[in-house]
Symmetry: C2
Subunit: 153 residues, 2 copies
DNA sequence: GCTATACTCTATCAAAACAGTAGAGTTAAT
DNA sequence: ATTAACTCTACTGTTTTGATAGAGTATAGC
C-alpha cells in the first residue's frame, strides 16, 4: 500500500512550487536542496510532470519550473495517478487502470467488495486535496495562519 | 498504493477458510484450485499465516488448514500488515512500522499531514472488516442471504 | 510397520520495479 | 560566446516480487 519515493518526491516538489507561485520559476537545484532530493532524479520527475501538462518550464540560464495551472486546480490524486498508476489497492477495483485479477468470479468476490471501499476512502481524500490545500497545511504547520477565516467562530 | 499478489492471495485463502469453518480442515490443494493460486506459492503464504498465529494446521494424509480463532476476531488490517507491512502510504505516518523519511522537517510537512488522513481512511476500513464480514459479503454477492436479521425492518 | 498424502522448511531464481547516475544535447540570458 | 539552466535517452546496481524445487516430517488407514 506504499507510495514510491518517486511519487513522494513529485508531491514534495509540487509543494515547493506551490509555495512559490509568486516567483517566475523555481530551479531544480533549489527544490533539490530544499527537499533533500537527488537532483538528477528530480529532473526526470519534473520533466514527467511537465510532459503531463502539470508544470511548465523555462530553459536557459534564468530557467526553472512553475505550476502550469492554479494550485487549486491540481489534485494530489491526479499527480499520484500519473507517477504511480492506480490508487486502488487491487487493479480489479481501479477506475482509471482497471485490469481483471485472477479471481474465479469478480462479481462474487468478497475481497473486491472490501477493496472497493478502500479505494473509495483513498480517492475521497486525494481527489479533494489540491496543491493549494497542501500548501495551506504546510503554512499552518509552520505556525503561520494560512487563512484567518479558519479561526472565526 | 497497491497490494502485492502475495497479500491478495492471503486474503483470498482466508475467505475460503472462513467459508469452511464447518469443516475440520481445508487442504492447500482445495484452496489453490478454488482460487487459481499457484499451490507451492500458497503453501508459503499459509505457513506464514500459521506461524503468525492466524491459522492452525494438521499434517498428514487428512491434513489441511483452518482458522485458529473465530472469523470475527481476524481483521483484514492485521493480515495485510503481516504480509505486506505498513498500511500507510508513506512510512513517516505509519503507526506500526514508523520510519522517518527524507523530508527536512517532519513536523512541518504538508505531505505528511495529508498522508495521515489517507492512512486513517484506509485503516478505518481495514480494521473494521473481519474475515467473518468478508464472508458475509461474498455470500451476499452470491445471492444467498448471509443473515436474515439484516432484512428485518 | 508401511505407504500414501499432506504440511514444513530452506534454497534458489528469473523478471520486474525502484532509485539513482551519466552523458550528450538544447535553450536562452548576459 | 559563455554559462547555467532544462531535455532526452540510456544504463546500472539493488531490492522486491512471484514463483519453483527438493528434501524432510507428520499422520491416517491398512
Ligand atoms: S480480488 Fe479482484 S475479483 Fe477478487
Ligand atoms: S513526507 Fe514524511 S515528513 Fe514529509
Amino acid at each position: 500500500m506504499k507510495l514510491s519515493l518517486r511519487g513522494e518526491y513529485a508531491l514534495r516538489a509540487l509543494l515547493v512550487l506551490g509555495m512559490n507561485t509568486d516567483k517566475e520559476v523555481v530551479r531544480i537545484q533549489t527544490i533539490s536542496d530544499e527537499q533533500n532530493i537527488p537532483k538528477r532524479f528530480l529532473e526526470q520527475i519534473l520533466n514527467e510532470l511537465k510532459v503531463a501538462g502539470i508544470l511548465e518550464s523555462r530553459r536557459g540560464i534564468a530557467g526553472g519550473y512553475r505550476l502550469k495551472s492554479a494550485p487549486e486546480k491540481i489534485t494530489l490524486a491526479e499527480v499520484i495517478r500519473l507517477i504511480e498508476g492506480p490508487l486502488a489497492p487491487v487493479s480489479c477495483v481501479s477506475e482509471k487502470f482497471y485490469e481483471k485479477c485472477t479471481c474465479p468470479d469478480e462479481a462474487k468476490c468478497g475481497i473486491r467488495s472490501v477493496m472497493k471501499d478502500v479505494r473509495e476512502a483513498i480517492v475521497k481524500v486525494l481527489e479533494q486535496v489540491t496543491v493549494a490545500q497542501l500548501c495551506d497545511r504546510a503554512r499552518m504547520l509552520e505556525g503561520q495562519v494560512a487563512n484567518p477565516l479558519d479561526y472565526v467562530i
